[in-house]
C-alpha cells in the first residue's frame, strides 16, 4: 500500500493551474468539489424544469407549453434530478469524505476517479441537447416504457447513449469507493468500527455495481428493438412490453436505495454530533442498511402492480415490500433513541437532519400505504405516488445532502458559514417543501393521474398551492448559493474541530485538510 501512496504523491509535484488543474486533477478533494458543483448546477437545471411543470399546472387549461413539451419536461426533470443532481452529490460527498474519514491519503484509483467525473458533463450535454432537436427530447417518462419510448423521435439513441455514460460513470465511481474502503482504512479501523456514513456508502456502491449494468442491459435492448430489428419488447415479434418494466424496476428499486442509503449515513452522522451522544445501535444500523439493500432486489414489481400479475406475484411483492418497513423503522427509532436524553443544539445541519427524519418518515408512511396492493390499484400512477417519492427524495435525499454540506463545509473550506442565513435557508426550504408536496397527496387520492399537463377544475386549488410552494422552494435555493458564496469569500477561519460533539478522523485534520489528506495513516483504537 505504501507504494501506492508514493504513486499518488509523485503525480502532484507539478500541479497545473487554472482550468487544467481541474481537468487533470486526480485529487479526491478536487474531484469531490467538482462533483458537488456539478450537482448544484444540475439541481438548478432540473429545478427550472420543475418550475415550468408547476407553472403550467398552476391553473387548469394550457397556458404556457404544449403537451408534448410538458412530457419532455417531466422526463428530463426526473433524469436530471436522479442522475445529475442526487447521485453526483452523493459521489462528491463520498470523494471528499471517504479518505478523510477512514484515514487515507486519497481514493484508491485516482485516475479512474478523474474519468468517472469527466464523463458526466459530456453525458448531460448530450442528454440536454436533445431538447433542441426538431422532434424534441425524450417524452416517455424517465422509466422509458416501451412501446411509447420506441415511438420517440431522433432523441432516443442520444438519450440511451447518455444513460450508458452515466451508468459507466456510476460504476467507475462505485468501484473506486469499494476499492478505497476495503483496502485503505487506517490500521485498527475494522469494518465494524467504520463511520456509519462509510458503511452506507460501501453498501450503496455494491448496489450500484449490481443495478447499473441491469439498466444498461434494458436500454440496450430498447435500442436494438428500435434500430436492429430485435423484438424483446414488441408483441408483434413475440416480445412483451411488460418484460421491460420487470428488467427496468429490477434496476429501479435498488436505484431508489442508492438515492437514500448515503442520506441515512449522513443523518446517522449528524444526529449524534449535535445530540452529543453516540449513535444508538450502531450494529443494528449496519444490519438494517444491509437488509434494506438485500430486500431491494426482491420487491421491484411493486412499481407495476397494475400490469396484471398473477395473484401469487401480487401477494409476494406486497409482503416483501411491507417487510422493508421493518429495517427502515429500526433506523428511525434508532435516530430518535440517539436524540433521547442527549444534549441537543440546533445548528443548520441538525435542523435539516431533524426535518429529514420527520419528512422522510411521512414519505415512508405513504410508501407503506402504497405497498398494499389492493389500495395501490387506486394510488398507482396518481399524484399520491408523486407526493410519496418527492417526500422521500426532496426532504429525504436532498435535505441530507444540504445537511452534509453545512456540516462539512467548514472542514472543507476552513471557513464558517453564516448560521443565521443557514437557519433562514432551512425554514424557507422546509415550509415550501411541504406547501409544494403535501397537497399532492390530496389531489392524488381524489383521482388526479400523474404526468398530465392539464387537469379537471376540481383539482385546481391544491395544484395552485403546490405551484406557489414550488416557486418558493426554488427561489429559496438561491439563498443557498448566496450562503456558499458568502462563506467562500470570508477570511475568518474555522476551527479544526468545528462541532464540539462531532467524532471521527476528519476532525483531527486541519480545516481545510492538507492536499494529501492523511500522509501518515492514523491509528484507530
Amino acid at each position: 500500500m505504501s507504494a501506492n501512496i508514493h504513486d499518488i504523491h509523485d503525480q502532484h509535484h507539478h500541479t497545473p493551474s487554472g482550468l487544467m488543474r481541474w481537468i487533470t486533477t486526480t485529487n479526491h478533494k478536487d474531484i469531490g468539489s467538482l462533483y458537488l458543483w456539478f450537482s448544484l448546477v444540475m439541481f438548478f437545471i432540473g429545478g427550472f424544469m420543475a418550475l415550468i411543470i408547476r407553472a403550467e399546472l398552476f391553473e387548469p387549461g394550457l397556458q404556457l407549453v404544449i403537451p408534448g413539451f410538458f412530457n419532455q419536461m417531466t422526463t428530463m426533470h426526473a433524469l436530471i434530478m436522479i442522475f445529475g443532481a442526487v447521485m453526483p452529490a452523493f459521489v462528491g460527498l463520498a470523494n471528499w469524505q471517504i479518505p478523510i474519514m477512514i484515514g487515507a491519503p486519497d481514493m484508491a484509483l485516482p485516475r479512474l476517479n478523474n474519468w468517472s467525473f469527466w464523463i458526466l458533463p459530456f453525458a448531460f450535454t448530450m442528454l440536454l441537447s436533445t431538447l433542441f432537436f426538431d422532434s424534441g427530447g425524450p417524452a416517455a417518462g424517465w422509466t422509458l416504457y416501451p412501446p411509447l419510448s420506441l415511438q420517440g423521435g431522433n432523441s432516443m439513441p442520444f438519450v440511451i447513449l447518455s444513460i450508458h455514460l452515466l451508468g459507466i460513470s456510476s460504476i467507475l465511481g462505485a468501484i473506486n469507493v469499494i476499492a478505497t474502503i476495503l483496502n485503505m482504512r487506517a490500521p485498527g479501523m475494522t469494518l465494524m468500527k467504520m463511520p456509519i456514513f462509510i458503511w452506507t456508502w460501501l453498501i450503496t456502491a455494491f448496489l450500484l455495481i449490481a443495478a447499473m449494468p441491469v439498466l444498461a442491459g434494458a436500454i440496450t435492448m430498447l435500442l436494438t428493438d428500435r434500430f436492429f430489428g430485435t423484438s424483446f419488447f414488441t408483441a408483434s415479434g413475440g416480445g412483451d412490453p411488460v418484460m421491460f418494466q420487470h428488467i427496468f424496476w429490477f434496476f429501479g428499486h435498488p436505484e431508489v436505495y442508492i438515492l437514500i442509503l448515503p442520506a441515512f449515513g449522513i443523518v446517522s452522522t449528524i444526529i449524534p454530533a449535535f445530540s452529543r451522544k453516540k449513535l444508538f445501535g450502531y450494529d443494528s444500523m449496519v444490519y438494517a442498511t444491509a437488509s434494506i439493500a438485500l430486500l431491494s432486489f426482491i420487491v421491484w414489481a411493486h412499481h407495476m402492480f397494475t400490469v396484471g400479475m398473477p395473484l401469487a406475484g401480487e401477494i409476494f411483492f406486497m409482503l416483501t415490500t411491507m417487510l422493508i418497513a421493518v429495517p427502515t423503522g429500526v433506523k428511525v427509532f434508532n435516530w430518535v433513541a440517539t436524540m433521547w436524553k442527549g444534549s441537543m443544539t440546533f445548528e443548520t445541519p441538525m435542523l435539516f437532519a431533524l426535518a429529514f427524519i420527520i419528512l422522510f418518515t411521512i414519505g415512508g408512511f405513504s410508501g407503506l400505504m402504497l405497498a398494499m396492493t389492493p389500495a395501490d390499484f387506486q394510488y398507482h400512477d396518481t399524484y399520491f405516488v408523486v407526493a410519496h417519492f418527492h417526500y422521500v427524495l426532496v426532504p429525504g435525499a436532498v435535505f441530507a445532502i444540504i445537511a452534509a454540506v453545512y456540516y462539512w463545509l467548514p472542514k472543507w473550506t476552513g471557513k464558517m458559514y453564516s448560521e443565521s442565513l443557514g437557519k433562514l435557508h432551512f425554514w424557507l426550504t422546509t415550509v415550501f417543501v411541504n406547501v409544494t408536496f403535501f397537497p399532492m397527496h390530496f389531489v392524488g387520492l381524489a383521482g388526479m393521474p400523474r404526468r398530465i399537463p392539464d387537469y379537471p377544475v376540481q383539482f385546481a386549488d391544491f395544484n395552485a398551492i403546490a405551484s406557489v410552494g414550488a416557486f418558493g422552494f426554488g427561489l429559496s435555493q438561491i439563498l443557498f448559493v448566496y450562503i456558499l458564496y458568502n462563506t467562500l469569500k470570508k477570511d475568518v477561519t474555522a476551527d479544526d474541530k468545528v462541532w464540539d460533539g462531532a467524532e471521527g478522523l476528519e476532525w483531527t485534520l486541519s480545516s481545510p485538510p492538507p492536499y494529501h489528506s492523511f500522509e501518515k495513516a492514523p491509528r484507530v483504537e
Binding site: M1, H246, F251
Partner: protein, 175 residues
C-alpha cells in the same frame, strides 16, 4: 496492491455478470410467464399427439380480436362464442381482410383470459405460429384448432381468447 487488484477484478466480474444477467432475464421471464400464465401467454408452438377424451364437462370459449396500430385491416372471429367440451378438439377461424392495395406481412399474438388458465388452452393449429402474407384487398380465413386441457380447474367456466393482429411489413423491411 494485490488486494486492490483482487477487489478491482472481482467487482468487474460482478458488473459483467449483472449485465449478462439482464439478458438472462429474457428467457427466465418466458419460463416465469409459462408457469404463472402471466399476460395470458399461451403455447407458441404446436401441440402434437393430443388424444381426445370424454369429460362431459362444458365450458364457454369467447373469441375476440384487436388490430394493432389502427392498421387498415378488418379482423374478426368467425364465431364470437363456442360451448366446448373439455378434452375435445374444436376448429374455428378468424377472418382477416386487407383493405389496402398492397401485400402485407402480418403476425398475430394470442392472449388468454384468465391468465392463470392460459396453460390449459392448447392450440393444435394456429395462425399465430408464423408470419403470414396477405395480398391487397384479399380476405383470408385463418384457421384455429384447439383443445381445452382436461386439467382445467373446475371453477373456470369461461375462457376468452384474444388475438392482436400486427402489420409487420415495415419491420421486415428494416431487417
Amino acid at each position: 496492491m494485490t488486494n486492490l487488484k483482487k477487489t478491482y477484478l472481482s467487482i468487474s466480474i460482478i458488473v459483467i455478470f449483472m449485465f449478462s444477467f439482464s439478458y438472462m432475464l429474457v428467457p427466465l421471464y418466458d419460463i416465469f410467464c409459462e408457469i404463472t400464465g402471466l399476460n395470458g401467454k399461451t403455447n407458441q408452438e404446436k401441440i402434437v399427439g393430443i388424444n381426445e377424451v370424454n369429460t362431459d364437462r362444458f365450458v364457454t370459449v369467447k373469441f375476440t380480436s384487436t388490430v394493432a396500430g389502427s392498421e387498415p385491416f378488418n379482423f374478426n372471429p368467425m364465431e364470437n362464442e363456442m360451448i366446448v367440451e373439455v378434452g375435445k378438439i374444436y376448429t374455428t377461424s378468424y377472418i382477416l381482410t386487407n383493405n389496402t392495395n398492397s401485400l402485407k406481412q402480418i403476425t398475430a399474438s394470442p392472449s388468454v383470459v384468465p391468465g392463470r388458465d392460459a396453460e390449459y388452452f392448447k392450440k393444435i393449429e394456429c395462425f399465430c405460429f408464423t408470419q403470414q402474407q396477405i395480398n391487397g384487398k384479399e380476405t383470408k380465413e385463418l384457421p384455429l384448432q384447439f383443445v381445452i386441457d382436461e386439467d382445467l380447474p373446475l371453477n373456470t367456466k369461461t375462457l376468452i381468447l384474444s388475438y392482436t393482429m400486427f402489420n409487420t411489413t415495415d419491420q421486415l423491411g428494416a431487417k
